[in-house]
Subunit: 109 residues, 2 copies
């Protein structure tokens, strides 16, 4: 039974990930590990194998850019930042998210 819940829960979160990445980078540029950390703080567990391909995808879609930056401790970090295109996508996604919330309310009645 519990695995059914976990499965649906992870299903639910799946579609929201792309939106969350954009929201996070809209506040401040960040590198992968720090994004994972912020998501974890907000109760959304994401692993590297999920995030890296997603960042690359969004970068290829022109929603993000990145630059390398040396770290004081450890290897260089790839800092991602949102583009104008990414920002304008957020506006549309904000609307889409509101629609979804209201859809659930409508169905629940």
């Amino acid at each position: 039974m519990e695995h059914i819940v976990d499965n649906i829960k992870s299903q639910m979160r799946k579609g929201l990930l792309e939106y969350c990445i954009l929201l996070i980078l809209n506040k401040k540029e960040a590198y992968a590990s720090s994004i994972i950390e912020e998501l974890k703080q907000a109760n959304m567990i994401v692993v590297e194998g999920t995030l890296y391909p997603l960042l690359i995808r969004q970068k290829n879609q022109g929603l993000l850019n990145y630059r390398w930056e040396e770290s004081t401790q450890g290897p260089p970090r790839k800092y991602y930042m949102i583009t104008d295109k990414g920002r304008s996508l957020i506006s549309e996604m904000d609307l889409a998210w509101q629609e979804i919330v209201s859809t659930i309310e409508t169905i629940r009645k």
Copy 2:
């Protein structure tokens, strides 16, 4: 650009589908076409090829049951109804849904 939005939107809705089916059947038993109709009313477009396998899956998980019923116009209909197990899953999903909504709020800050 528009296809990116549509893609993410459909991604978002994906995970919510199972939850929506349970919510709908929690109110009243229904057959596939009527479920599709209700989802459409709530702004969530779903096609048969998506819904049928999902209903069968949920039935196999013991969340739903069904019975056949003659129709006054057309072939017999398979009416699905929620089980006790399905109902108790809804309680957990309600919580999960609230968590997700609050996750988005946290991330947006």
